[in-house]
Symmetry: C2
Subunit: 575 residues, 2 copies
């Protein structure tokens, strides 16, 4: 006997359909409907009829083998055989995170294929994988941020079983796994949720579709939906934490913000499971309250994606100043980012045309992720070109050194470790031609505003755009790629062996720089990082006894009161 | 030589018009326009032409003698002769607040006429007047929440000079004066602000018109507009504090919430002036963060309007259960309100269909205002009838006793002290017939949904609706009115003479009640309040030595182990 339940206060009548049969459902308190049925196969497909229309998939479907508009597949989470008893993810201060996208990480683009590349990540020194969203989204390929079936792994990536296998294989290799989840909006295609219940609100406008109802009538169940989703990934799939997409777009004015509830519930699960679980929001607010403990009025999340360090680093290395980069560009900005993560801590932002941020008082550096690239910063460029397409190897090595010796939790984006030549472009697969066209046109307009020729913008709906974004693993051992890979391995090794690099102590960092001469020196206790960003060799002040020197380019010379660096190079001295 | 400046990034050309002459203005950084002109009278009328349209009044106009669509009058704030040197408002824990509406407080409905009634308030024992909004709103009468010229006192109430005179007269009588200000929306009629600058946003929907732009591009100046407005009332008009209307409708997701900025700036002014200034938000969020200090992640405001105590008390006394009253009704709710202000501190609210509130940890009772009536709770009833229209004198006396012996800062609404027979109805005076009609129809629809005959609902646009809402001071000395007035005077005197009633110590309050027998006992250290809500006399348990007894009805009898109370009566015992 199985019980099926669905929250559907909107329709007057709800029926359960399974293997072609239709069953009446009983209305319960609070807008729930329920039915008990015996005799179905474990993996039957089912759906709900709402006022005789449908069938529509289960909003909490655990698998959608036929896509977002198909029937839902029953899944039993209890029969996978896990090999990770007593597994504990390393704490974030010791982490080196690797962001990957299942569809493009390997040629096959599946959970199964990803397993074959795990040993590469182990060799690189990675401690945490962070998967871009794997929830069911429209079509057969996409970034995953248009998800509508948040409890179901994307069927073109593989089954729930295969996703568990991937996590299991990671844990066997001492790799922790984080999952990117999107709680700030739903995709618009295949989105049937609004027919069931008040998942959406008109009170706020979301940049990506209807705003989610976190604080209006019915919100107690909407919040349960998301909390239960988070708990499922952590409990049933053994994920070690969640990256929370764009939490600045979660608008909730109630006295108990949704993120506070989520943090409490994950903390309870943590205690129950005895496992180290983390929540890592992406936030554009520069608001330290996300990280402050509840006693200080904070949400108490573990660490946050913060773009200020990225923007400061990217502008210094690339000299790009368009769009949001106009707020950055000086070594002073980069130094400020290295000292407190937020460059904008309350002052006026020209790009935003308003004051932005708040001082991140009392927070360690390892409460922030630091990166030179991520899926957004690459993929949201007109052509999805990586830093390796427009920066010299010298600059890339400086960038890698600054990320991997930073006070932050460093993160790499798939392929960054070898300066992959493949782009990571914006790709979608909307089945509705109207929506597909709107996305295509929107993308063109976005970049023609910055002076791009619209024909140069890759078509997000084209299969080729997806295909060319897949990593080319054959280049890994060749030329500059191999050199860059070794540089990353060397830096991660250094980071893991030097406690001074991992302690996150902003207060112990000393920085010197010369804006005009283009050099920067960062002292982190016994480790000093010297960067020459200029395209000529130059001397930087240095007095001390060097135990060892790691150099990105041959030719670093230690002199009596200076260090001589070749053009576009970095040297790391252990005192 | 006078300099005129206006923030107007929207138009391409701005001109200054004064006394019929037009002057070009010079564009400055940040969207400001400026002009220096000599030779005008002090009280000239002026406006701005935007791209040759207009003239429109100054968004920061200090006086609108011809209404919201007329020209602005120049005002010099520096020449009023104040008599209140060294004036200090009493601290809130000692306050008894009196909410009044200038237009209906006296027959003339002006600042000047209000002066004549101040001695009545002094005699009653009031310490703080709280004026409903006096900013310029459309038409000649209205509640004031449709204001558009937030820096200008409503011209039908009097001039800026006369408003200062009223405040000055209050201070001479040791009455503090609070002003109700509306920062969550602007009125729609006569609202020209959107032509000047991005005062509004489409990101959020306000229940009362366009949402104010507190966190989007240009918001730094919008926030300055409101902060400067607050500082003006406190500095130039000598108000002792502000009541902030419906702060739950101020949507600001930035890291530095507008209310935090406002609180900081008012605190700075407080230090500069050396005067006791307070900010009292009205909030529907049951969120203690408004009151918590910044160290605890709070905004640090002084006290808040909180309706839970009102609703709990009103439902117990009236037995009404419609609309939001359905969430209240038991003596247990009333007891919880008396112990921590918020009845809803996180649990499910049937009316809101969601969880509501958060425990108000660490806050004293005198951080909340407590009231049996206020302009909303009276005026938002279908016919604006006061409690005195539907409660017995016995119930009114119990209500008054519970408010005036409560741990909260007690507040009365004009005329409540004598159970005024006049209603306080919803009245407007929109000049645009379409808008006037929409308001009229909206009001009818709101109440027909609750089963009212639409013809019974007073027409908000009718002059008579305003006229009949004016207090009738001639009834003050007659029958039950005089009796009620004396009861209020007696209770306020008791409150002011008993520190136990003013200390706000929730933790020291002991409460006993019998839901079925309808009695309630509240012990506040040496003061015990016995309420018999039943319509028959009954015995309540009491053991102790009474120093004195204050009774609302003759016939209270102290027995060996009980106190015998007449039907619908309250007795206050000093131990």
């Amino acid at each position: 006997m199985s019980t099926f339940r669905v929250w559907a206060p909107m329709p007057k009548k709800v029926q359960f359909q399974c293997d072609g049969q239709v069953f009446a459902m009983r209305q319960e308190a609070g807008g729930w409907w329920t039915v008990e049925i015996a005799g179905f196969q474990k993996d039957s497909d089912y759906g709900f009829l709402l006022d005789s229309e449908g069938p529509f998939p289960d909003p909490r479907s655990l698998f959608q083998p036929h896509g977002v508009n198909g029937l839902s597949r029953m899944v039993d989470h209890n029969h996978f055989e896990w090999d990770d008893t007593n597994w504990q993810a390393p704490p974030l201060p010791s982490a080196v995170i690797y962001e990957l996208h299942i569809g493009t990480f390997t040629p096959a683009g599946t959970f199964e294929a990803a397993v074959d590349k795990l040993d590469h990540l182990v060799k690189l020194g990675i401690t945490h994988i962070q998967m871009m969203p794997v929830n069911e989204f429209p079509g057969v390929h996409g970034w995953g941020y248009d998800g509508v079936d948040l409890f179901a792994p994307q069927h073109t990536y593989g089954t729930p079983e295969l996703l568990k296998r991937l996590v299991n294989e990671c844990h066997k290799r001492h790799l922790a796994v984080l999952l990117d989840v999107v709680y700030n909006h739903f995709g618009s295609a295949g989105n049937h949720l609004g027919k069931f219940a008040p998942y959406f609100t008109k009170k706020y406008l979301s940049p990506w579709g209807d705003a989610v109802n976190f604080d209006g009538p019915g919100s107690y169940e909407v919040r349960r939906f998301f909390c239960d989703n988070a708990l499922m990934w952590l409990r049933d799939y053994h994920f070690d934490g969640l990256r929370l997409d764009a939490v600045h777009a979660i608008i909730d004015t109630s006295a108990d913000h949704f993120l506070e509830q989520l943090a409490r519930e994950v903390n309870e699960l943590k205690a129950t499971l005895g496992r180290n679980l983390v929540l890592i929001p992406e936030s554009d607010l520069n608001d330290p309250r996300l990280l402050w403990p509840p006693e200080k009025g904070g949400v108490g999340l573990d660490a946050q994606w913060s773009d200020d360090f990225h923007h400061a680093l990217h502008t210094v290395l690339s000299e790009e100043r368009d769009g949001y980069y106009k707020d950055f560009g000086s070594l002073a900005d980069l130094a400020k980012a290295l000292k407190q993560a937020y460059v904008y801590d309350g002052q006026f932002s020209r790009h935003r045309c308003r004051n932005h941020g708040r001082p991140p008082e009392g927070l360690l550096g390892n409460r922030f992720l630091g990166y030179l690239q991520n899926h957004d910063q690459v993929g949201n460029r007109a052509k999805g070109d990586r830093s390796s397409c427009f920066m010299t190897v010298g600059k890339l090595k400086i960038g890698a050194a600054l990320v991997l010796t930073s006070p932050f939790v460093p993160m790499l984006f798939q392929g960054e470790e070898w300066g992959a030549s493949t782009p990571f472009q914006y790709f979608t697969d909307h089945q509705d031609p109207k929506l597909g066209n709107a996305v295509r046109q929107g993308r063109r307009q976005e970049f023609t505003a910055f002076g791009w020729d619209p024909d140069e913008i890759p078509d997000p709906q084209a299969w080729e755009t997806f295909a060319r974004s897949k990593l080319n693993w054959s280049e890994l051992t060749t030329g500059d790629h191999a050199d860059l890979l070794n540089w990353h391995i060397q830096l991660i090794h250094l980071r893991q062996s030097e406690p001074a690099l991992k302690n996150g102590r902003f207060d112990l960092i000393e920085i010197l720089f010369d804006e005009k001469a283009r050099w920067l020196m960062i002292k982190r206790e016994s480790i000093v990082i010297f960067c020459n960003l200029a395209n000529r060799s130059q001397k930087l002040p240095f007095v001390g006894e060097a135990r060892s020197v790691i150099e990105s380019v041959d030719g670093t010379t230690l002199m009596k009161d200076a260090i001589h660096l070749p053009a576009e190079s970095v040297a790391i001295i252990k005192l």
